[in-house]
Amino acid sequence: MNSHDSSNEVTYKEVNDTVLRMLEPPGAGWYVLLCACLACVGIGAASWTHQIMNGMGDAGKSHPIMWGAYITNFVFWVGIAHSGTLISAVLYLFRAHFRMSIYRLAEAMTVFAVLTAGLFPLIHLGRPWFFYWLMPYPNQRTLWPNFRSPLLWDVFAVSTYLTISATFFIVGLIPDIAAARDRAKTTFRKVLYTLTSLGWTGSNRNWKHYTAAYLFFAAFATPLVVSVHSVVSWDFAMSIVPGWHATIFPPYFVAGAIFSGVAMVITLAIPLRKAFGLERLITADNFDAMSKLILATSGIVSYAYATEFYMAWYSNNTFERYQFWFRPFGEMKVAFWGMVFCNCVAPQILWIKSMRTNIGVLFVLSLIINVGMWLERFNIILQSLARDYIPSAWGAYNFSWIDVGITIGAFGWFGMYMTLFIKFFPAVAITEIKEILPVPARQAGHGGH
């Protein structure tokens, strides 16, 4: 949207028209999508219920591999969440214009992905009904949680992340909801938008404080991008399991999170753009920029993989060496090579410029990367646990239908929020796009931003 080509300039009105058209009553396709998501949520809920009634043994955990599909999903979804904040906050601070058209989508993805990720620590608890014991609240037992545990850091990091990203998301939405309010036709929508826009008018005073506050939010969210996934990575790095205990984990996880998150944004943006005709708002240039980001993070991730192997070799540590022999050549080598293909090999196609703007290729590639990043977490978690210090205790994971059901449920849960969101709230930022358009003026020289 950074072109100022006057003849084909997008106008303020067109932005409002295009975006608010998305909120018109949904067609059958939308209902099918929503029902599919709800069905998936149902599968997940049924699986979880079964697991709660019957025991954690329903999932595929075994003695050495006490964390499995759930923590894999947790890290995956937290990772997905990250690029949302990256695009909305970090790129905001860097004034990257290509962010504007996709940031709302990315941010919604963040919030919903954190909501999804947040479920997994609960699901994976042996006694989920005592989850609140992780909260530091005064209780009759006079017990407190262990602030030295990486899991408690996780509790703080993820809940902070959810709060801040949700706030950031909602604050960003307010002016756009006001725009939707001003055009709402049905009473339901009028009431909905009137309430959710909190009476926003876009007055000079509103904007003044808004821009200031928004900057602070962005400033707070930016370190969160780094810290949350670092803290998640410490769940592993703080332990002593060979394959987990590595100082490279925080940057490696953050890069991986951005990598997977950008891929997920592409996965979501492409169908959305197609379905609502947003080609003029989400342009090929945007995809090109995101592709470059993918290429860069893929490089970082690949480098991190290589570093892990190098460190295992260089440390001359028996246990590390065995672990990193096991990954490519052990029982679960398929997951390893799948990860290498998806995360290191496949993205290299983006060196070709035409591929970066080829929507079909990008869509397939983004799915491949999503799979690859899921496998990466799978490798880190399961493979490391399968072969640690004492050979007599080595073991295997028993993948179960409950694992699969809950994973499906997670996608359904995420999809459900996404589907509802795009029909009820502006999924593309109206104000922000307008901000990068030239301000209507009689005389030139009135820059818009």
Partner: protein, 1002 residues
């Protein structure tokens, strides 16, 4: 003391109250609990007081009773812990001369036979159903007695089959049989009768000598699994371990067709063709005679031996057995140069069709080497009464329809006898009746519904040995007493009481010599012991002291005095020296082996033992066929394939385990699985009974376990054998370490303080101070045989859930203590390491800081504490546990009544979703501290013994306060052999020290 007596008598007498009495007992914590974190499902709880107070029964305080283990004929002393009238734990009696406090897994699991949910709960009579699947209906005791008494009065042949009994019960059974003209047959499948007979031929008296493993410098063993099931494993293991723990352990050479636990503990394990051991033994005889040993033999013996052995040579033996001649020579040289050595043969490997050759050869070797009187004690021998020849004769007469009454107790011949013998058919003939058509009666006094009891017409359930009086006299000088430790669980009677009652009803009241019940009879019998003891105390006092001690034990008498007579008897004859396998050119031979898991099948209904991983294969809840890779490859069979192992007598359908440690010519199967009756746990395991397929050799004194030719055919499908061991190899990680004794250099002092072998790493944090106690454990790997007794003890003490095969297959077994077993090296130079692995209670525990809710933390006494009810189940601790000793409750496990009565009320039962692990038997520490506090002192060294430490037959573990430099554990930990697992890698600072295994390189 007198109160105690009256109390005991009350218990004994109150048998008639049966099951109702237990209801009077208070229901305390464990039995009434709804589950750990008290989900809101508990209804109003009731509290039942005792009706009558008993002086030594304080609710919440355990009462210990001493008794004798009757699970096998070894006669180990036990002490049973009872709480609120229920037996909750069995331990070895430290004062007993046989086992000195240790107890094997089978003995500890006797509780599960006591509380077997499938026990016979009242008298049953057969009513309808087919011969194979009979229906039983409950009848009254009066009716049952009346029917048996009527049959006793009838004038025809009668047979009384009992297990291997010694002492008063045997006397009573003899007297009973005599009175009714019944043939009394003792039967115990694992009794080494051939060994006893060989002793008679060589040493001059029938019986199994006692072996002193401690004194032997060289042990050459042909198949005797003396660390597992052979005669008296606890006794032998203890002696063997004493030698191992010393700086200069015995050199141990073991010859057998399949690696057994005993073989795995050998310095040199030789894989011999089954049945060829005799030629090796005779070759050794010749070698030693030629080398100038055996000068003590009479000249004529030497001459006849050398003429007999003219054709024997080491090369020929090597060729026949498949063992290289060097190794045989090596064994010969070791024997030759040793002052004291020990040669023995036994186990199923030695139970061939012609077992005498091997047994005579080993006895001759002992004679030549001068071991008799030194390591082979013939003065106090066990005298097995089992005789297959007599049993065969009785069966023959049963088949003819001559027998009108068959009574069985304490034996399961239907399961243990070869099918060819036709025991089932014989019983059918008894039931069909004599030629006149009068039907006979088959009576079982079994307490469980085993295969033999299923064939009975009437079952009069007898007490478990923990519910009845009795005694055991395994060998001269040991008089063990059996006393009831609790009121009977079900409506059963003591076997002795039943015999006395039946005799009286059948008009032979003189059988018991005037005693009204078996306790009276026992006391009468013990009056003789009293008289022989020369004790100055009166009988009552002597009796009470014996009850308290668990028996009356005479100091061991000298054996050498009796040696002189023995050599005179020895007349080597050709038949003895007959060598050769005798199997001809058969392709594959069935090799069933007894193991600590099942023995001959009697242990199959004990979930603890079924869940105990097999010490060699580490399979649980299963039977399998072990085959050599070459043999399997020949037949196109791969690991895990289901095969049919069959011959004309039967068929086994088993999964194949391919192992380098089994001879090419055998297919080895564990003995004792494949029950068709004997309770729900036994019935789930294995497909087919290996005993039934065995050959019948004419007039054999014992079952020939080796020699049955079988075909192995690949069956359909694959079966999942469930293995608890991850990797069989240590991958060079030095986890279980072995040191080899340097030739010529004695290896230092035992557990001495001294060499600072390990350096202390620098610590980042200030290490915690432990003000009074710092509990620590040390394990001497030299003494650990890998038998798993500690594992069973741990299950029993800590209410550990038995989860079954399927959950085990998911890697979710719950054992807090496991035995890690590693194989290193090729089969010819095999080194096996066993390593008990429990929570290491690390001072820098990786599991602790990762718990978000402090469910696990470090306490002042150096314990890695685990508060179950605080656990939310993140399982992070288990991931971070370097030793992988934490167990997670993946499911809630239901325990059927009355198995649940065994639960230790002092230990919390863990619920679903909670992590658990070894606590160093915290409840015992607390109990000891409680006592100490009462007395205003701190806990003394040795006062606390966790279940594993207490139960270890070889005393390979010690526990104590590391703060006390004089404590045994501190001294062990200071030993130059001591090390801590992985400590030099990850600085976990475990509280458990291991002492390297010391072995010889042979």
């Amino acid at each position: 003391m007198s109160e105690k007596d009256s109390e005991l008598v009350t218990i004994g007498k109150s048998a008639s109250n049966g099951i109702s009495r237990r209801k009077f007992l208070q229901i305390l914590g464990a039995s009434s609990a709804a589950g750990v974190a008290g989900c809101a499902r508990d209804q109003a709880q009731k509290v039942f007081p005792f009706v009558r107070g008993e002086e030594d029964q304080i609710p919440g305080v355990s009462v210990w009773y001493r008794s004798t283990c009757r699970e096998c004929s070894a006669g180990c002393g036990i002490q049973v812990r009872t709480r609120e009238g229920r037996a909750v734990k069995i331990e070895g009696n430290p004062e007993h001369p046989v086992n000195h406090g240790g107890l094997c897994g089978l003995g500890q699991a006797a509780l599960q036979a006591l509380y077997d949910p499938d026990r016979v709960r009242q008298p049953l009579a057969r009513e309808g159903g087919s011969n194979l699947e009979p229906q039983f209906k409950p009848i009254s005791w009066d009716e049952a007695y009346a029917r048996v008494a009527a049959a006793l009065k009838a004038n025809n042949k009668k047979v009384l089959i009992t297990g291997e009994e010694t002492g008063a019960l045997d006397e009573l059974a003899q007297s009973f049989s005599k009175a009714f003209g019944a043939e009394k047959i003792s039967f115990d499948a694992l009794q080494p009768v051939a060994l006893a007979k060989a002793s008679e031929q060589v040493y001059g008296s029938y019986g199994i000598p006692r072996y002193d493993f401690e004194k032997a410098q060289v042990i050459v063993n042909f198949g005797a699994d003396f660390l597992e099931t052979f005669v008296s494993p606890c006794e032998y293991a203890r002696g063997w371990a004493k030698s191992r723990k010393s700086g200069n352990p015995a050199k141990f050479i073991h010859v057998e067709p399949r690696l057994s636990l005993t073989g795995a503990n050998a310095d040199l394990w030789l894989n011999a063709k089954p049945g060829s051991e005799a030629s090796v033994a005779w070759a050794l005889v010749k070698f030693l005679l030629e080398a100038g040993r055996g000068n003590s033999l009479r000249d004529e013996v030497r001459q006849s031996l050398s003429s007999l052995l003219r054709d024997v040579s080491i090369d020929a033996a090597a060729e026949e057995s498949g063992i290289s001649a060097d190794k045989i020579l090596r064994a010969g040289h070791e024997l030759k140069s040793a002052d004291a050595s020990l040669v023995l043969a036994g186990g199923t490997a030695a139970a061939t069709a012609n077992p005498m050759s091997l047994q005579v050869a080993t006895a001759t070797l002992n004679l030549i080497l001068g071991n008799v009187g030194k390591t082979v004690l013939v003065g106090s021998m066990r005298k097995p009464q089992t005789s297959l020849a007599r049993f065969s004769t009785a069966i023959a007469s049963m088949k003819k329809g001559e027998v009108g009454l068959v009574m069985m107790h304490g034996a399961n011949p239907q399961f243990n006898l070869p099918a060819e013998l036709g025991f089932q058919y014989a019983l059918a003939q008894v039931r069909a009746g004599d030629p006149k058509g009068k039907p006979g009666l088959i009576v079982s006094f079994s307490s469980s519904l085993d295969e033999s009891a299923m064939l009975a017409d009437i079952i009069l359930p007898s007490h478990h040995s923990l519910e009845s009086w009795g005694d055991s006299r395994p060998y001269a000088g040991v008089h063990g007493l059996v006393q009831p430790v609790m009121t009977p669980v079900f409506d059963t009677r003591a076997f002795g009481d039943m015999l006395i009652k039946l005799a009286a009803m059948a008009g032979q009241s003189s059988v018991a010599g005037g005693a009204e019940d078996f306790l009276g009879y026992l006391k009468a019998s013990w009056k003789k012991v009293h008289a022989a003891s020369g004790s100055s105390a009166d009988f009552q006092r002597f009796w009470l002291e014996s009850v308290e001690r668990g028996g009356y034990f005479v100091a061991e008498e000298g054996d050498s005095s009796k040696l002189s007579t023995s050599t005179d008897a020895y007349k080597p004859v050709k038949a003895m020296a007959k060598v050769g396998s005798g199997f001809g050119d058969q392709d594959l031979v069935l090799y069933p082996y007894a193991s600590v898991k099942t023995f001959d099948g009697r242990a199959a209904n004990r979930p603890w033992l079924q869940e105990l991983p097999d010490p060699i294969t580490s399979y649980v809840w299963d039977a399998w066929a072990e085959m050599h890779p070459a043999t399997a490859a020949q037949r196109g069979i791969a690991e895990g394939d289901v095969v049919q192992v069959r011959n004309k007598n039967g068929e086994l359908s088993l999964a194949v385990h391919i192992s380098d440690y089994v001879h090419r010519d055998v297919v080895a199967v564990p003995l004792g699985q494949g029950h068709q009756a004997y309770g729900r746990f036994a019935k789930t395991v294995g497909y087919g009974n290996a005993s039934a397929m065995l050959n019948l050799s004419a007039n054999a004194e014992a079952i020939a376990y080796v020699g049955a030719a079988v075909d192995v055919v690949r069956g359909r499908g694959r079966s999942s054998l469930v293995k608890t061991q991850g990797s069989d190899s240590q991958h060079g990680r030095e986890i279980a370490r072995t040191a080899f004794v340097q030739a010529g250099a004695a290896h230092g002092e035992e557990h001495g303080a001294g060499h600072a072998g390990h350096h202390e790493p620098k610590q980042m944090y200030v290490q915690r101070e432990h003000p009074i106690y710092e509990w620590g454990l040390a394990v001497d790997l030299s003494a650990c045989t890998g038998c798993g007794a500690c594992v069973v003890a741990c299950y029993a003490e800590n209410n550990i859930a038995v989860v079954g095969k399927e959950i085990c297959s998911q890697g979710r077994e719950m054992s807090w203590l496991r035995i890690d077993r590693y194989f290193e090296g090729p089969a010819e130079e095999l080194q096996v390491s066993f390593q008990p692995m429990m929570c290491q209670h690390c001072h820098n525990a990786p599991c602790e800081p990762v718990c978000p809710v402090f469910a696990t933390y470090h306490n002042e006494e150096g314990l890695n504490a685990m508060a179950y009810n605080r656990c939310v189940g993140t399982r992070y601790c288990s991931n971070n546990c370097t030793y992988k000793v934490r167990r997670f409750n993946f499911f809630e496990v239901d325990v059927p009544e009355p198995v649940s009565w065994q639960f230790n009320p002092d230990v919390t039962k863990r619920s679903m979703g909670v992590m658990e692990k070894c606590t160093f038997c915290l409840q015992r520490i607390n109990e000891a501290k409680d006592h100490a506090k009462d007395e205003g002192r701190i806990v003394r060294d040795g006062e606390v013994q966790p279940a594993c430490v207490q139960g270890c037959p070889t005393q390979a573990l010690v526990f104590g306060n590391m703060k006390d430099p004089e404590s045994k554990v501190s001294r062990w930990a200071e030993s130059h052999r001591a090390y801590k697992i992985l400590d030099h890698h990850i600085n976990t600072q475990p509280a458990v020290s291991y002492l390297e295994r010391v072995k010889h390189k042979l």
